[in-house]
């Protein structure tokens, strides 16, 4: 499992989610984003337009699609900006569903 394969699978997931994911940003960080060998988990942040979208995505996403644990943190854009989480986690924007 490498960074590219993870992004491909997450992109497929985002696509399958359809309208629920519209307007979100998906940011990868941690060992997978650094493409380290044998990562123990996948760290992802999803920025949402509002609380409802975050709650809906939590319910809609299949967390067991990878062989290793998928950890997702959901933030509204306002929250993410307030703590400058992109800088803090040194994350990379990988998906921005239309």
């Amino acid at each position: 499992m490498n960074r590219t394969s993870v992004i491909i699978k997450l992109s497929e997931m985002a696509c399958c989610l359809g309208a629920i994911a519209t307007g979100t940003e998906w940011h990868l960080f941690g060992s997978v984003d650094r493409n380290e060998p044998s990562p123990s988990d996948i760290d992802l942040m999803i920025f949402c337009l509002n609380d409802n979208q975050a709650d809906e995505l939590r319910n809609a996403i299949d967390f067991d699609i990878f062989e290793i644990p998928l950890h997702i943190s959901f933030f509204t854009y306002e929250e993410a900006k307030s703590i400058n989480v992109v800088f803090m986690q040194n994350s990379t924007l990988i998906i921005k569903p239309d």
Binding site: A54, D55, R58, S73
Partner: protein, 213 residues
């Protein structure tokens, strides 16, 4: 639950760190680590909440498991189930914990590192008399002075409002929700979400201060 046992055995088939060397008559995996150290792993496939009725039968044998693993990992372990496992000198966890437990060379005493840290810190607090499991990440804290508190520990570097709402959905009511790491931060929205539930979102340091009051 043969399918989940097979799944774990297959996952370990080409592993160089641990080796499945057989099964017990109760279908527990016999796993060998280095220097001939071996242990039994019971694999169960419960979804939702693991209760004591799910784990007690596992110990009705002479060849008991030292580790109980559930597939999938995203479940809650009820406090009674945890107490039942610990009282048998065994531990519990997810697939990845097979490796972590093996490396301790004392699988039955294995404890999740993050939760172990919290439990020890809370037990050592001068105003705390007892720490008991509600779930694997939720604890009831009995205190010398002040009412008992229910503390939910969440796996988040930065705690968001959604983390707080999700914790409430998963584990029910709590008095305090705390991050499992001292690093990172708690958003104002997370604090507001907790307050709307009559709870508090705290860092570890803040939790220690709160236990005193």
């Amino acid at each position: 639950m043969t399918n989940v046992v097979d799944w774990v055995e297959n996952k370990l088939a080409n592993d160089h760190e641990v080796t499945v060397v057989g099964r017990t008559n109760k279908n527990f995996l016999v796993i060998e680590y280095k220097d001939g150290y071996s242990f039994n792993v019971a694999v169960i496939g419960v979804k939702g909440i693991i209760e004591d009725s799910n784990v007690l039968p596992l110990f009705e044998t002479t060849d008991k498991p030292q580790l109980v693993v559930n597939v999938p990992s995203s479940v809650l372990w009820d406090g009674f189930a945890i107490d039942a496992i610990h009282s048998e000198g065994a531990s519990f966890g997810s697939f990845g914990d097979i490796y972590r437990a093996a490396r301790t060379m004392d699988v039955g005493s294995f404890r999740d590192k993050n939760m172990g840290f919290f439990i020890n810190a809370m037990r050592q607090h001068s105003n705390v008399t007892c720490v008991s499991y509600v779930y694997n990440s939720v604890f009831k804290i009995d205190r010398v002075s002040g009412e008992s508190l229910t503390v939910a520990v969440i796996d988040a570097y930065n705690m968001s409002a959604e983390d707080v709402r999700n914790a409430r959905t998963r584990v029910g009511e709590f008095d305090i929700v705390v991050k499992n790491t001292s690093y990172g931060s708690i958003t104002q929205q997370a604090e507001a979400a907790a307050a709307s539930m009559g709870a508090q979102a705290l860092t570890f340091k803040e939790l220690m201060r709160r236990l005193a009051r």
